[in-house]
């Protein structure tokens, strides 16, 4: 995590804030752990108090005081509107189309927003064995839209995925539609450098905004394919004082809660 040059916030904070802003009030959001969970809770504590956070452990309307380390921390059930079984959360909620936004991270992404969280290298003899699918394939399949959050680098933004764990816009164009999925796929990818959105026709991820201080060269350098850049390239509004205060408070509360002794 690098401190923005004298900007008073880090690149990760910019990424988290930018992701949280995309979440509208009242949205039903299926949340993954890590930056997606930070961003979703930041949204809930700032501009979107009415968003309904769902974690795959079965908690609906979770309102954690501190950030959960896992998707099933007790914190999530404590103040939830409801807690349902795992089959119910996947079948009746996600597959049934009751989720507006799925919030995902990944180890690798390609130009059409397909995601890999399974292996790097070959499947039979992996260089790195990653945790695997979890609920990501079905979130990518069935959420009305998907927000992807991950740091931009050549290791992560690759020409060809080692493994397709979750489908984004498949081979581009209307190819996703042929797969029978009811959800719309990734509508935005938020990185530490800027914001990418799929082209309306080709569905190829296109850089549409840079965070303050980032450059197109930097974004191209951190992308393993020839990155398309929008003609009207925007600049992200830097994190506001209120956003930073709430985010940092949340992280401090979380760190303090984790200091309990082992055993």
């Amino acid at each position: 995590m690098t401190e923005g040059e004298g900007r008073g916030y880090t690149a990760d904070e910019m990424m988290t804030v930018a992701a949280s802003r995309r979440l509208g009030d009242g949205t039903v959001c299926f949340v993954g752990i890590g930056i997606p969970s930070q961003a979703a809770n930041l949204a809930r504590l700032t501009h979107a108090p009415g968003c309904v956070l769902i974690y795959e452990s079965g908690t609906i309307g979770a309102k954690p005081e501190v950030l959960p380390l896992s998707i099933g921390d007790g914190e999530l059930a404590e103040h939830a509107d409801s807690v349902v079984s795992v089959p119910e959360i996947f079948n009746y909620w996600l597959q049934a189309g009751r989720v507006d936004v799925g919030f995902l991270g990944a180890a690798q992404i390609d130009r059409f927003g397909n995601l890999n969280t399974t292996v790097v290298g070959s499947y039979e003899e992996p260089k790195v064995r990653l945790p695997g699918a979890g609920g990501a394939p079905e979130i990518a399949a069935s959420a009305k839209e998907v927000f992807v959050v991950l740091r931009q680098s050549r290791r992560a933004f690759v020409e060809k995925l080692a493994f397709v764990t979750s489908v984004g816009h498949a081979e581009g164009g209307d190819s996703r539609e042929g797969l029978g999925y009811t959800g719309g796929g990734p509508s935005v990818v938020i990185t530490d450098l800027g914001i990418l959105e799929p082209d309306p026709e080709t569905r190829e991820l296109t850089l549409v905004a840079l965070h303050p201080g980032s450059t197109v060269e930097e974004a191209r350098e951190a992308t393993g394919w020839d990155l398309k850049v929008a003609e009207n390239l925007g600049t992200t509004e830097p994190p506001g004082e209120g956003e930073l205060r709430v985010l940092r408070d949340l992280k401090e509360r979380t760190a303090a809660a984790r200091k309990e002794k082992v055993g």
């Binding site: 380390l69 007790g74 064995r129």
Partner: protein
């Protein structure tokens, strides 16, 4: 009907070498005490089934109890890798580990089919991913009414399901509340069921988001206080996130791991001694 018995007797009588065993509990109520007992009794060649292998299977895999793992997400939540799982998959240590991997929805539906005595479950998913290329238990299926193409996954019917719950009554009915995950389906899909509980009580009180697994669906109930530690039991104790973080350097190193398991699992009589042993050592190293 469930018999209220000791964990050692339950594992000795109900878990056999070569069995397919599902220890379930979605982050909450993970049956660590039962896993340790299975390791202490030296059970071998197990097919371990679990949506999230977690530290509980990292320990069992690292001790060579498993020949195969059926799973959907194999990480240390919020921390990183399960190093014993990775070592087994990437380098075959201590034994090669066959894997069969699904997504969460796939696994959840496989248990539902198993509990329903159906041969397979149907869901929307997997299409366009690489999972069907590496997992033979994923097949396309056409809806007989509309022709729509969907995905079929076979039922899971483990020989033994093991879960942890907050309470049982004296008849062996089991009460769990909070995040109840996939435990009901896992128990009802299995041929034999072991439940460890925080305590055996005379009568249950009302709990929000609670479910009762009737005694007729359970074979053995064993009282093991804190038997889900370092995961948690809602209403009893919190998840030890610190333990999950401290596990990373232990699990990362083969010798450190072996030493830890020898001191705190093989070298103790039961789970209460295990808890004393790790507390005495103070830090997790």
């Amino acid at each position: 009907m469930a018999e209220i018995t000791g964990l050692r007797e339950a594992v000795a009588g109900l878990v056999g070498d070569g069995d397919t065993v599902a220890l379930e509990g979605f982050t909450h109520l993970i049956p660590f005490a039962a896993a340790h007992e299975i390791v202490r009794q030296g059970k071998r060649d197990l097919t371990l089934v679990r949506m999230t292998p977690d530290l509980v299977y990292d320990q069992m895999i690292g001790m060579g109890a498993a020949k195969k793992l059926v799973f959907s997400w194999g990480g240390n939540p919020g921390v990183g890798s399960l190093h014993r799982f990775r070592d087994a998959v990437e380098r075959g240590w201590p034994l090669p580990l066959e894997i069969e991997e699904h997504s969460h929805a796939g696994m959840a539906n496989r248990y539902v089919a198993g509990a329903s005595n159906l041969p397979f479950a149907v869901l929307r998913g997997y299409v366009g991913t690489d999972l069907p290329k590496v997992t033979p238990t994923i097949e396309p299926i056409a809806c007989p009414f509309t022709g729509e193409e969907l995905t079929a996954v076979p039922a899971l019917n483990p020989d033994v399901a093991v879960i942890h719950a907050q309470q049982a009554d004296r008849k062996g009915n089991v009460l769990l509340w909070g995040i109840t995950g996939i435990q009901k389906e896992a128990a009802l899909s299995a041929k034999r069921v072991i439940v460890t509980v925080e305590e055996v009580v005379d009568a249950f009180e009302e709990h929000t988001f609670g479910i009762v697994l009737p005694s007729v669906a359970v074979d053995a109930v064993c009282a093991v206080p804190q038997g889900a530690y370092p995961s948690y039991a809602h209403g009893y104790y919190a998840r030890s996130n610190a333990f999950y973080e401290a596990w990373d350097p232990i699990g990362r190193d083969r010798e450190k791991f072996r030493g830890w398991m020898e001191r705190h699992v093989l070298g103790v009589e039961d789970f209460s001694e295990h808890l004393r042993s790790i507390r005495q050592e103070g830090a997790m190293g």
